[in-house]
């Protein structure tokens, strides 16, 4: 299951400066595991030590925030696009 993944500026140091990378996986969890084999350190920026999606990272499947889908268990399909965007937030 080939999926296109859009990488935000802040994480491009982990992807050799690539803005867009390809990954494989039938769930978001599997995709992140696959990406980790190619871009070491990426998964840890997206998922916390308890294995949950980090609170201030937004991940979208096509147009939808995965928090409103199945989180890390969200199913992916051929040709889907996953977009990662850090939250713009503060105090």
């Amino acid at each position: 299951m080939a999926v296109e993944v859009r990488i935000p500026t802040i994480l491009r140091n982990l992807t050799g400066n690539q803005k867009q990378v390809q990954g494989e996986g039938d769930t978001l969890e599997a995709l992140f595991a696959d990406l980790e084999t190619k871009f070491a350190g990426l998964r840890g920026r997206l998922v916390d030590d308890e294995g949950a999606l980090r609170r201030f990272v937004n991940v979208y499947l096509n147009d939808e925030d995965v928090r409103f889908l199945g989180g890390l268990e969200t199913k992916l399909g051929e040709g889907d696009t996953v977009t990662i965007l850090p939250a713009v937030a503060g105090g």
Binding site: T9, I10, T83, L85, V88, A89, G90, G91
Partner: protein
């Protein structure tokens, strides 16, 4: 140094005043690599809080897609502090994720005094910079 045109500078302050006592937030986009804040985009503070701000997740995706389509980047990321000084809080520093952006802080604690300051936040290191307000950008 942040160089910003008067109209955008005034618009940021007006947005901060309008949303007081909640924090206001937004972006000024500009052509990639130009370092020129050109397109003022006030955002909704989804947290609607006097002590926190966060762009709505759907708005955030639309904003970045739109900038991408126009070959723009966020040149300025701004927000207001409503009771404290115009400098990044610990939370601001920990969530800052645009190393190329100017982080603008406006304080609305005193309705008579304008506090507008700009910072770089890179790898959790904060550096204040000068702000130059110009009538318009050179051609």
């Amino acid at each position: 140094m942040l160089t910003i045109d008067r109209a955008t500078y005034d618009a940021i302050i007006a947005h901060a005043r309008r949303d007081h006592p909640d924090e206001a937030c937004g972006v000024v986009a500009g052509p990639l690599g130009s370092d020129r804040p050109a397109r003022f985009i006030p955002m909704l503070n989804a947290a609607r809080s006097p002590t926190f701000y966060e762009f709505d997740s759907g708005d955030l995706l639309r904003l970045y897609r739109d900038m991408d389509d126009r070959d723009e980047e966020p040149v300025v990321v701004y927000h207001s502090h409503t009771a404290t000084e115009a400098r990044p809080s610990r939370t601001d520093i920990s969530y800052a994720s645009e190393p190329n952006a100017h982080y603008v802080l406006v304080s609305t604690r005193d309705p008579e005094v304008v506090e507008f300051r700009s910072f770089r936040i890179v790898d959790a290191t904060v550096t204040e910079e000068d702000v130059q307000v110009v009538d318009s950008y050179p051609e």
